[in-house]
């Protein structure tokens, strides 16, 4: 939900302690907003210079304050003047002070939003005698003669020791004499003087379980306490990272929800696969086919830096540790001008800044892998976090298969982050992260036509530096630059004695700079530049052309156009391609807020320039450049506070895969693939915490790189595509007991390889995709969750016959019409149980994540016998229980 209009019901007032005509620093929310909305929270209060108040002892100025998404005061107006003698001076003083306030921004659905609040600034003339006597005086009055001692302490959350703010520490020193102190942002409270003796310290707060503890105060001994309280888990939404522009359709995930989704093993990024518009990949291998696009068309960014792999081998785990994830934003399509180079959607991961409230960390292990993390402050302005993960599934996987295959996947990933906050307005971050996957597999398939050994090694490493500055009036500027080295794809298959390999390496150097400039309440300019450079080295041996899938018999049209692994076919050759790709795109957008800020129109423009230089220094050298003007438009109209409609349309382009430029395996003359996307939908919040979003989309694709009809050149840009559908997501946000998602997508995606050929179903065309997720918090620290999925089976190309090649001693299938048959539908129920043990200083949890509880026999592909006369479905894992433990401190 976005909240762009005024929130007239929100009233903040100032409680003024007795003092000499001064304003106070405490604030209380009087009118509570819906849970989906969090009002701005005053983090920096500025005391007004008190003007003469004449004979008045108190006065109040009611202000209207516009707080922008960054928490800065955009404007202040007097809604109700103080009036009376000196009223104008009071008004001016209040306005002057309020202009210097700093807020934690208001949030709607977890996203920072501009909010207008009403703020009562109260001036109170300090009375001659304090309204509440000093503690020591009161004590003396209550128990004359008793000496006093200072008592201070800190209130921490049980389990992770984070300080808890806003807790009332109460000590009753005598009947009717109760002393109170409030914890600050650091969790600290202090009583300057409490009478000695046996007392009881009580801790009260709206967000904690009330607690009390006896304390003995002895003369001459100051008491310092550390207390731990159980914080009521009112799950906070994951804060979405600052987005440059308004997205028509985006989904921001909530960490506390994600951790408990069965089947994800608590992996934040795996939860993307449950969102609307995302087709299910066979065997859950971690692909993201979105809105009918090929998986490789969806781009993934971590702090604005593109990464090639979101998941480790087989989609078992994401390549970025979930604990490093501050937020995850998924835009399935029609995204805005600050991103480009992809015809699918975008996934934006915002890494979390290290904690500064002490040293924290965790260790976790399950059947798949183990991971550790530690974070904390180095100085007052510098903090760090380090995490690592390593798999041991290569040792545990054989427990779940009796196959003669020797499968040995090994992966690891790491993250290290250093954050420097030299001022409240400036952040500087250095982030080093990477991932590595190795897979070796010896396939000795006695009954199948395949006899191959497979080895794969993929990895990426990134060093990114980010600097962000928040200026006055909501202006911001952020710059991120990164350097990386990747092997996004590496695979070797030995067909008998014939090696076929592809090894791809990339040195990449990227920069993004984004600025925002509000011009008053109704207009904002956004702009920046996006540069991605790569030096690719692609070594390849084998036969080109897309070959048929040896298991399902389907070709890989539309999924990849970079050839196959035939070692026995014609055209066997080798290639060494060095390709420089440099893509730069200036972009700009204007956000117009009209009709009382209910209508938002965001026209944008991205000028994408792509250059390709290959085989430099050889006779095969080529250099090409393409300019792609990409206008985009987003419109959103808030019909009522609960209803909104939205739409977006835009043009997109993406560079061909680097391997497509290979002279023997592809075509140096291939051009960027292009597309247009449109979406129209809406959102409604029937009640607090319940969100419904619905969208219809249409996507046109052209100039897709496909195998040519003649084989010379191997590839060309004849391909076209279209995808359309509708989706709905009903999401009950986390309460203290429950959350749930209902997600349904209806879609159709088709491809046409050449103009003289017919349209066929895209490989990931799934008519119906239904996901239902429920989770309950049970007593005694138990959490129970369930996920049910129903998905239409993938299309596949039926085999109509086969011929026997005497030289290779293999049968080769003869295919029917492309993707003219479908697998049976997929349905699966996953369950997850968590048990959390919370101690004062650390927390221990154990979980059991069981996939496919009902042991549904779900076909993932079609298998054939050696001569393709007998076919049968290849099913996914019948049941996979994953037991894990985790400790946090």
């Amino acid at each position: 939900m976005r909240l762009l209009g005024t929130l007239p019901a929100l009233l903040l007032t100032v409680v003024v302690p007795p003092a000499n005509a001064r304003a106070a620093s405490g604030a209380a929310v009087l009118a509570e907003a819906a849970p989906a909305f969090q009002p701005p929270r005053l983090t920096h209060f500025v005391e007004a210079k008190p003007p003469p108040m004449g004979s008045r002892t108190e006065a109040q100025v009611v202000l209207t304050i516009d707080v922008d998404e960054a928490g800065h005061v955009a404007s202040v107006e007097v809604a109700q003047p103080a009036g009376g003698p000196g009223g104008d001076a009071l008004d001016r003083a209040a306005v002057e002070a309020a202009r210097q306030f700093v807020f934690e921004p208001g949030r709607a659905d977890g996203k920072p939003v501009p909010v207008r609040i009403t703020y009562g600034y109260k001036f109170v003339l300090k009375p001659q005698a304090p309204a509440t006597p000093p503690a020591s005086a009161a004590a003396s009055a209550a128990q004359p003669g008793l000496p006093t001692v200072p008592v201070s302490g800190i209130v921490r959350k049980r389990g992770d020791r984070s300080p808890v703010e806003g807790i009332a520490a109460i000590v009753q020193v005598a009947p009717g004499d109760e002393r109170r102190a409030l914890t600050g942002p650091d969790g600290r409270f202090a009583f300057p003087a409490l009478p000695v003796g046996h007392r009881t310290l009580e801790l009260r707060g709206s967000n904690i379980v009330p607690a009390s503890a006896p304390i003995d105060l002895h003369e001459g001994k100051a008491l310092e306490l550390t207390t731990f309280v159980d914080v009521k888990e009112r799950y906070a939404s994951t804060v979405r990272g600052r987005r440059l522009m308004l997205e028509a359709v985006e989904h921001t995930l909530v960490n506390e929800e994600i951790r408990r989704i069965p089947g994800t093993q608590g992996d934040t990024l795996k939860a993307v696969q449950n969102l609307p518009g995302v087709a299910r990949a066979p065997f859950g291998i971690g692909l993201l086919p979105v809105w009918g696009s090929a998986p490789q068309d969806t781009r993934v960014y971590v702090d604005g830096v593109d990464i090639p792999l979101l998941y480790h081998f087989g989609g078992l785990r994401s390549t970025v540790n979930s604990e490093f994830v501050q937020s995850l934003t998924f835009v399935p399509g029609a995204y805005q001008a600050d991103h480009g180079l992809g015809l699918g959607g975008i996934v934006e991961v915002e890494a979390r800044r290290p904690r500064t409230d002490g040293f924290h960390g965790f260790a976790q292990m399950d059947l798949l892998d183990g991971s550790v993390m530690i974070e904390g402050p180095i100085t007052k302005t510098v903090s760090f976090a380090v995490a690592g993960r390593r798999s041991w599934i290569d040792a545990t996987l054989p427990l779940f298969t009796t196959s003669t295959f020797q499968l040995s996947p090994v992966y690891y990933d790491y993250q290290a982050r250093l954050t420097w906050r030299p001022s409240p307005r400036t952040d500087a971050d250095l982030f080093l992260f990477g991932s590595d996957d190795r897979l070796s597999l010896l396939a000795r398939v006695k009954n199948n036509a395949l006899d191959a050994a497979v080895a794969s090694h993929t990895y990426f490493h990134r060093l990114a530096g980010e600097w962000a500055r928040r200026f006055d009036q909501g202006r911001t500027l952020s710059v991120v630059a990164s350097l990386g080295y990747d092997a996004p794809f590496g695979l070797g298959v030995q067909y008998g004695t014939v090696p076929t390999t592809i090894q791809e390496r990339s040195l990449n150097y990227n920069t993004r700079a984004i600025g925002r400039w509000p011009l008053g309440d109704l207009l904002r300019l956004d702009g920046g530049v996006d540069f991605e450079g790569n030096r690719w080295v692609v070594d390849r041996t084998g036969s080109p052309f897309t070959v048929t899938d040896v298991v399902s018999g389907t070709s890989n049209q539309g999924v990849g156009s970079n050839g196959g692994f035939s070692g026995t076919g014609s055209g066997y050759t080798t290639d060494h391609l060095i390709l420089y790709t440099n893509h730069v795109a200036p972009f700009a957008g204007v956000t117009l807020s009209l009709i009382g800020k209910r209508l938002t129109i965001v026209p944008q423009f991205r000028l994408q320039v792509m250059t390709f230089l290959g085989y430099q220094g050889t006779p095969e050298a080529f250099a090409r450049g393409y300019v792609s003007p990409e206008p985009r438009l987003t419109v959103r109209y808030q019909l009522t506070p609960r209803w909104a409609v939205r739409g977006a349309i835009g043009l997109y382009a993406q560079p061909p895969d680097p391997t497509a430029f290979s002279r023997p395996f592809g075509n140096p003359f291939v051009v960027p693939e292009k597309g247009a996307q449109a979406v129209l939908g809406g959102e409604v919040d029937p009640r607090a915490g319940l969100h419904i979003e619905f969208d219809a989309f249409y996507k046109w694709l052209r100039d897709l790189v496909v195998p040519s009809e003649t084989g010379d050149p191997v590839l060309n840009n004849d391909g076209r595509g279209r995808a359309y559908g509708a989706e709905i997501m009903v999401r009950q946000e986390l309460t203290q007991r429950f959350f749930g998602w209902f997600v349904y997508t209806f879609s159709r995606s088709e491809r046409q390889d050449h103009p003289d050929q017919g349209w066929y179903l895209f490989q990931f065309d799934q008519t119906h995709i239904l996901t239902l997720i429920l989770s309950w918090n049970l007593p005694r620290g138990f959490v129970l969750g369930g996920r049910f999925r129903y998905v239409t089976g993938d299309p596949y190309t039926p085999v109509t016959g086969a011929f026997y090649d005497s030289i290779t001693d293999h049968y080769t299938p003869l295919n029917g019409a492309t993707n003219s048959a479908r697998l049976d539908a997929f349905n699966q129920l996953d369950l997850r149980v968590d048990k959390i043990f919370t101690f004062d200083r650390w927390r221990f949890s154990i979980y059991l994540d069981v996939q496919n509880v009902l042991r549904a026999s779900n076909p993932e592909a079609v298998g054939y016998n050696y001569d393709y006369r007998i076919s049968h479905p290849i099913t996914g894992l019948p049941l996979l229980p994953i037991l894990g433990v985790r400790g946090d401190f």
Partner: protein, 278 residues
């Protein structure tokens, strides 16, 4: 940058998919039942344009039915990555093919074609002209193809030659199986089988990538009973164990055993033995 997991997917599907889930319940390729074509031998296996070669089809029908074969030749070159253009297999009446005769043994002539007209070379640097057969026993049908290698002026390939087929006992002594009389075997017996080929069977040639390599002679094994530990053997894995513990005929019946040796460039030889189940 693009993600190439999509490409890895089909490969993993092909390879890891079955491993993760189940093994195929179907009879192995080495088990012969009904009509099968186990190989086609050309003599010589590499000829220039206009020259002839004798094709011998190793076709068997365990039911004892008569087997016939009808041959066509096809002038459609394979696309890159293909061994044979599927258009050559669309039927004998296809305009892409023309009939050249019938019979399991047939003499074919390499047409007056150029190497360029036969598509791109394979990994061995060779191009081939396809001869397709329709082999039938009246009830069933198999479509085998023999691709006759076009001699390019370099060293011409020759067929490998199987000298013997032996059983190695537990003491390591290899005893050749007599081609004239069946070897007596019992239920549950394990035979460690291997073939010996002539020393000149594996010839040297220049691969497509310019590498000088020596052919690897690979032997495919077939039988009408039992289970083989390896369906293909070579110098790297010379032995395969035939376990006579399943798919057994009635006692007193014979079990057929074939070994088909192939080199890298279309050369082939085969041999046949019988086992007598007691």
């Amino acid at each position: 940058m693009r993600r190439r997991l999509s490409w890895l997917g089909p490969i993993l599907l092909a390879v890891a998919g079955p491993s993760a889930c189940q093994s195929f319940p179907d009879p192995p390729v080495s088990f012969v039942a009904g009509l099968r074509v186990l190989g086609i031998k050309a003599e010589p296996p590499e000829v220039p344009a206009g020259a002839t070669s004798d094709l011998t089809t190793l076709a068997v029908d365990t039911a004892g039915n008569a087997i016939t074969a009808t041959w066509t030749e096809c002038f459609v070159a394979p696309l890159p990555g293909q061994t044979v253009n599927p258009d050559c297999l669309t039927g004998l009446s296809s305009s892409n093919s023309q009939a050249i005769g019938s019979g399991l043994d047939i003499t074919v002539t390499m047409p007056q074609v150029t190497a360029e007209s036969l598509g791109s070379p394979d990994s061995t640097g060779g191009v081939y002209f396809p001869f397709a057969a329709q082999v039938t026993n009246g009830a069933d049908e198999v479509l085998p193809v023999y691709r006759l290698r076009l001699a390019d002026g370099g060293s011409v390939n020759h067929n490998p030659a199987i000298l013997s087929l032996s059983n190695t006992d537990s003491s390591g002594t290899a005893t050749p199986l007599d081609p004239q009389s069946p070897m007596p075997v019992t239920t549950g017996q394990k035979l460690s089988l291997s073939v010996t080929v002539s020393p000149d069977s594996a010839e040297s040639y220049v691969r497509a990538d310019g590498t000088n390599v020596t052919e690897v002679v690979t032997t495919s094994w077939f039988c009408t009973a039992g289970e083989l530990s390896f369906e293909k053997t070579s110098d790297a894995q010379p032995l395969t164990v035939l376990s006579l513990d399943q798919r057994l005929p009635a006692p007193g019946s014979t079990i057929d055993l074939w070994a088909v040796a192939r080199d890298d460039r279309g050369g082939m030889d085969y041999t046949h033995r019988e086992l007598l189940l007691q």
